[in-house]
């Protein structure tokens, strides 16, 4: 028989039992749709996480003052006073895998402009901080190196603070009060959104020269943190090792003693998140594949019923000259058509649902072509696998008995 004729025959046979064919396909539709939706949504979520991490700063490492453990009492991180400006300078100078290092302190303060006031974090740092954080300005500029050396009372506003204090009016050149001191606004930052690691609003911040915050707001010499930018993302682990060994050396920590500082690598966080996401995607894909498998069993079930129902037809076909191969191919093709149509509708269904989810959560839409190709092939493979047994059963019928079958 010509393949085109066999194909047409399969379509007509399925068309005779429309409801049954549609219900059988539903198994494949849900299976293939679920696989595509899970992969599409998973990829979208991973891309979103990457985007958030990129927003925190490229190749960034965080060096923080460590915890103090005295007489068995651990008072938490950020308590040691050993992290100092010369450490930041040394990191920038002596670690080959570090491109920039920005020292910083921070303090919670009440800020006032006119009749508006707002409680926020005030950071003291140096101009290279904006470069390390990969943080563009919305208006104005950074404070200068000179402002740092002179402890000038100038400040840059994060987007959230700007909104609360100024609304739609222009803050540049205005003076706000931080604690008891007046600060002149020189710039505002572009919004950065929620931090991927800590879920904090990164825009709820005011940034001022390091020395100003240290001397005039805090009255301390030591640093709270140093933001470090590695020369490339790949080198951030090397940079981390270099910083640890440099700081242990500078702080004269004996080999068996713990660090009095912490170094966190954003690449670590990114990798952990990516791994978490891929484990989730794998699990969901397995669940979806089980749905696909169940769809395949549905095809087998209906094909077995069909073979029994059409025993007489098989007998007639054999009597007029159909070979075993002809009969086997006829039923296999019906199973494949079920799988293919179910798979095609499933793809539409999966693509549509991942679009819907992406839209809802504002994720990028990412449906890799391999997922579509793979699930189509998988659907056909399942149809062949589960269609083969009923088709073989049909082809093995004895024509004499089949003709006599009522």
């Amino acid at each position: 028989m010509f393949l085109a004729d066999a194909f047409l025959l399969a379509l007509r046979a399925l068309g005779r039992n429309k409801m049954r064919s549609i219900l059988t396909m539903l198994g494949m539709i849900i299976g293939v749709g679920a696989v595509i939706a899970v992969i599409g949504i998973g990829k979208g979520a991973a891309a979103k996480a990457q985007e958030q991490l990129a927003a925190m700063g490229s190749n960034m490492l965080f060096v923080g003052s460590g915890s103090v453990n005295r007489y068995g009492l651990n008072v938490g991180s950020g308590q040691t006073k050993t992290l100092v400006l010369s450490d930041a300078r040394a990191i920038a100078r002596e670690c080959p895998s570090v491109s920039t290092a920005a020292p910083g302190v921070q303090t919670g303060q009440q800020v006032v402009f006119g009749n508006q006031n707002w409680a926020t974090q005030v950071m003291g740092t140096e101009p290279q901080y904006f470069e390390v954080r990969n943080w563009p300005f919305a208006s104005g500029t950074s404070f200068s190196e000179e402002d740092v050396t002179q402890s000038a009372t100038v400040a840059v506003l994060g987007d959230t603070v700007r909104k609360y204090l100024f609304g739609s009016s222009n803050p540049i050149g205005q003076t706000i009060r931080i604690g008891t001191l007046p600060f002149k606004i020189v710039g505002t930052l572009a919004p950065k959104g929620i931090s991927a690691g800590s879920n904090q609003d990164q825009d709820d911040v005011i940034i001022a020269p390091l020395t100003t915050v240290q001397k005039k707001l805090l009255g301390q010499e030591w640093l709270r943190w140093i933001m470090v930018s590695a020369t490339s993302r790949g080198s951030s682990y090397v940079a981390q090792k270099q910083i640890v060994s440099l700081l242990r050396d500078r702080h004269k920590i004996r080999p068996d003693d713990p660090n009095d500082f912490v170094v966190r690598n954003l690449a670590d966080i990114a990798d952990a998140e990516a791994e978490q996401g891929s484990v989730m995607t794998t699990l969901l894909t397995i669940v979806a594949s089980v749905a696909l498998l169940v769809g395949g069993i549905g095809i087998m079930n209906i094909m077995l019923v069909s073979v029994t129902e059409r025993t007489r037809e098989i007998g007639i076909r054999m009597a007029v000259g159909a070979t075993e191969e002809d009969v086997r191919r006829q039923f296999l093709l019906e199973a494949i058509v079920l799988g293919m149509i179910g798979g095609a509708v499933g793809i539409l269904f999966g693509v549509a649902s991942s679009f819907a989810v992406s839209n809802l959560l504002e994720w990028p839409i990412l449906i890799p072509p391999f997922a579509i190709v793979l699930s189509t092939l998988f659907a056909i493979a399942i149809a062949v696998f589960f269609g083969f047994y009923p088709a073989r059963k049909a082809s093995q019928l004895n024509p004499i008995e089949a003709l006599r079958y009522e």
Binding site: M1, F2, D5, R16, R312, E313, G315, I316, R317, M318, A319, V320, G321, A322, T323, E324, E325, D326, P399, I400, L403
Partner: protein
């Protein structure tokens, strides 16, 4: 019937010349039925020549159905030879047997065995689907075959829309469409009233007159009288094999019968 058909005589003159179309030699068929063995055929030898019109008769269990199944290449003998057109088909494998059924044998069954929800034309095309005939030629040949059996105006009818006689004529058209060497009919009139039965026998006689070899199973002596040779089976043996000198002519009989239908 004293008058002898001249056409039939002409065929009788030629049919013994040359090799027989069908030559069955010492064919046995044994089934295992649980512990016991059933001997359906106990050494059958018979020759059928091209142009013959044979009635196979016998009680149920006489082996006539088994014989027809072997003749139709639906079954293979346990032992013995079956030569069809110079080939020992008892030695062929399943695929080759399907090919023989497709090209050399036409089947007509008691229960018509048409595909439901399939038009007369498509039912007739069925054997050609398995012999790789182009769509256009399939349609043409099916149309011709249906016209030959008088159904040229019912090509698009479904079996459920046709009378038993019409359905059987579609089945005959289907059997003829691949131009078989031999037509096998298994109780073709078993489900038909007497008038329609004679009509079907009329079609068979016309086809036979044009040279088609026909073997027909029946248990009705009235039907067997339209053929030219009767073979009677009993207990797996051939009990009697005789030529009918003056077969009845269906078209003549039809004239004497009251017409009821159509």
């Amino acid at each position: 019937m004293a008058t002898t058909n001249s056409l039939a005589n002409a065929k009788t003159a030629t049919k013994h010349a040359g090799v027989p179309l069908v030559s069955v030699r010492e064919v046995r068929k044994t089934y295992a039925l649980g512990e016991t063995e059933v001997h359906a055929l106990r050494g059958i030898s018979v020759s059928i020549h091209a142009g013959d019109f044979v009635a196979i008769m016998g009680a149920s269990g006489s082996g006539k159905s088994t014989f027809m199944n072997i003749l139709g290449c639906l079954d293979r003998p346990t032992s013995g030879e079956y030569w069809l057109e110079g080939t020992d088909v008892s030695q062929l494998d399943k695929k080759e047997l399907a090919r023989v059924r497709n090209l050399k044998i036409g089947f007509v069954f008691q229960g018509f065995n048409l595909l439901g929800r399939t038009t007369a034309l498509e039912n007739t095309e069925l054997p050609m689907l398995y012999s790789r005939v182009s769509k256009k030629e399939r349609e043409q040949r099916a149309r011709d075959a249906l016209t030959l059996v008088g159904l040229g105006d019912r090509l698009d009818h479904f079996p459920s829309q046709m009378s038993g006689g019409q359905q059987q004529r579609v089945a005959i058209a289907r059997a003829l469409v691949n131009k078989p060497r031999i037509l096998l009919a298994d109780e073709p009139t078993g489900n038909l009233d007497s008038h329609t039965s004679v009509e079907v026998m009329d079609i068979f006689q016309k086809l036979n007159r044009d040279g088609l070899t026909i073997v027909l199973v029946t248990h009705e002596p009235d039907i067997a009288r339209f053929t030219r040779r009767q073979i009677v089976f009993r207990d797996g043996h051939i009990k009697r094999d005789e030529v009918i000198d003056a077969p009845m002519i269906a078209s003549e009989v039809l004239k004497t019968m009251p017409t009821i239908e159509d």
